[in-house]
């Protein structure tokens, strides 16, 4: 199976490449754009990106395997990232994480059996005055309680 981005993403990628003095420097933003559209970065997409930027495939793999936000396998339709660093731990993050795992019936960094929601723990999200905090597909939610967490899940399920 080969990979090809949609026309609008391809246009965006060309603009990204043009904004750097060296083509290969656009690697992070290009991978980001690919992942935004496809949900993950497949081996075929890796090869496409390498060719596009004129770099070796291993250089793409090195970067993909280093940064935690890049996904080399498909995840759920929605990703919930719960912060587990110090300020959030002090505010009860562990309880929220346990509650969500129980509610979604998933293990550490797992995806629900219907493939809808992936739940992962992350380090500091930089929202410490709103601890405990989490992000749902990149959008911040703070001062999370069991009740507000349950409401967020209900909302996600209703929107499906």
């Amino acid at each position: 199976m080969s990979y090809a981005p949609s026309a609008p993403i391809l246009k965006k990628i060309e603009e990204m490449i043009a904004s750097y003095p060296e083509r290969s420097a656009a690697l992070l933003p290009v991978l980001r754009a690919v992942q935004e559209e496809s949900g993950w970065i497949s081996p075929e997409a890796e090869a496409w990106v390498a060719a596009k930027l004129g770099i070796r495939p291993i250089q793409v793999r090195e970067v993909l395997s280093f940064y935690t936000m890049f996904r080399r396998e498909p995840a759920g339709k929605t990703t919930i990232q719960v912060c587990q660093n110090l300020s959030c731990t002090l505010a009860g993050a562990e309880d929220i994480i346990g509650f969500l795992r129980e509610k979604l019936q998933v293990g550490p960094d797992g995806t629900t059996s219907d493939g809808r929601i992936t739940l992962v723990t992350v380090e500091c999200l930089g929202n410490c005055d709103h601890a405990p905090c989490l992000q749902i597909d990149g959008i911040d939610h703070g001062r999370v309680t069991r009740e507000s967490a349950a409401a967020l899940i209900r909302e996600l399920e209703a929107h499906d």
């Binding site: 003095p21 731990t89 709103h130 992000q135």
Partner: protein, 415 residues
């Protein structure tokens, strides 16, 4: 109280908009610098102001700028460090959301002073959803002729690109950030050469934190003396102290450099909630060695914190209440540094993961006699033995937790 016109984080909800910024006198300092000052005078004024880097290291910003070779036709770059990843730190986020134009104005002045034509703003990937205002601000500044070609009708040109990270604490280290902008793993470079001479794309490069640059417009607009008067002679201005953990009013407090830590916690953040007392305080982001309740009268400036055996770092204050087992704190630290070590230097790669294994074992109730000394030994083996400051950043806070709370750890850990 600090008047809204000079606050880094204005209270007004519409503060992020261009019109609001212009009403506060925005872009006048950049206009003054570009149209009526020579670059050397811009650098000299910032040096005189005693502005120290707000990212964590506290290096004098003007001095950093002065290391870049002057003149020449080769490109020079500016990187704005918005990779705010030090746990307990959330101040740059607030500037990006509430005052992006002030950051851009500082960036314009810095670039003019150093002779830079292209800037990259490195925003951590986790902040992508809040970066919309920054991107809008960029577009507005370009449309007004504050950025782009022929800025303020001069022959000064400046292009700005927003570059997103993708989840790696280490990219806040300046040479790792450069590697990341160039499209590689964020693995720090050996120094020297320093980025001021050989940096991004092998060219002279300045890397400044968001809050550092956001102070520049006031320094140029109101002068170095005004800035020094708001802080200390060798550490001028205000700091945005982020307070989280066991306090009544967690949040950001912009106060003069040198404000005592106890006042920040008690007066501004309201102290611990009823029924809780303070057990320990992390004064400057997770990597800053912890302080005990009897050490909280320290003034919050770089030199005073260093004398107290800790560091001001990113000024992220985390208050730990007396009901929190100190082992929980140690566990978070051990996990975090093991997760974030980039893997390049053996002492950090092995040291952080070994410490994490021992602490996890302790947390599972299987602590062994000698564990604490083994951790201390591993921590001291990391110090000073890595390419970048991360080895020290991991070793120092872990060492402080064990040496200051040894009794509690021994009681709970050793069978």
């Amino acid at each position: 109280m600090i008047e809204d016109a000079v606050r880094l984080i204005p209270a007004d909800d519409s503060s992020w908009r261009l019109e609001a910024y212009l009403r506060r006198g925005g872009y006048e300092a950049a206009r003054k610098a570009v149209t009526s000052m020579v670059p050397q005078d811009v650098i000299a004024e910032v040096r005189r102001a005693g502005l120290r880097g707000r990212g964590g290291a506290g290096f004098p910003a003007g001095l950093k700028w002065s290391f870049v070779p002057q003149g020449g036709t080769a490109p020079k770059y500016l990187c704005v460090n918005a990779d705010e990843g030090e746990p307990g730190t959330f101040k740059d986020r607030a500037i990006l959301v509430r005052n992006p134009h002030q950051l851009l104005e500082g960036l314009i002045i810095a670039a003019f002073g150093v002779g830079i034509g292209q800037a990259f703003i490195y925003v951590r990937g986790e902040y992508a959803s809040i970066a919309g205002r920054l991107e809008e601000a960029l577009a507005e500044a370009c449309a007004k002729g504050f950025l782009g070609r022929g800025i303020f009708g001069s022959d000064f040109n400046l292009e700005v690109v927003v570059h997103f990270g993708a989840g790696a604490y280490i990219c806040g280290e300046e040479t790792a950030l450069l590697e990341s902008v160039e499209g590689r793993r964020g693995q720090p470079r050996l120094k020297p050469p320093f980025p001021a001479v050989v940096g991004l794309f092998r060219s002279p490069t300045v890397i400044n934190n968001v809050e550092t640059l956001s102070n520049i417009p006031s320094i140029i607009g109101r002068g170095a003396d005004w800035f020094i008067a708001r802080g200390l002679p060798k550490d001028g201005g205000t700091r945005i102290f982020g307070v989280s953990g066991a306090v009544r009013r967690p949040g950001l407090y912009e106060l003069p450099v040198g404000t005592p830590l106890r006042a920040i916690i008690e007066t501004h953040a309201g102290g611990p909630p009823d029924g809780l007392a303070i057990k320990a305080v992390v004064p400057g982001g997770l990597s800053a060695p912890v302080l005990r309740p009897d050490e909280l009268d320290v003034p919050m400036d770089f030199d005073s914190l260093a004398r107290a055996g800790s560091m001001l770092g990113s000024a992220g204050v985390i208050v730990i209440g007396d009901r929190t087992p100190i082992l929980d704190v140690l566990e978070v630290m051990a996990r975090f540094y093991a997760h974030e070590s980039c893997g390049q230097c053996t002492p950090c790669r092995l040291g952080t993961s070994w410490i994490h294994k021992i602490v996890s074992r302790m947390a599972a109730g299987k602590g062994q006699r000698g564990d604490l000394d083994l951790i201390l030994d591993l921590a001291s083996g990391m110090r000073g033995r890595t390419l970048c400051p991360m080895g020290d950043a991991a070793a120092m806070p872990i060492h402080a937790i064990i040496s200051k709370f040894r009794n509690e750890l021994e009681r709970t850990v050793v069978p």
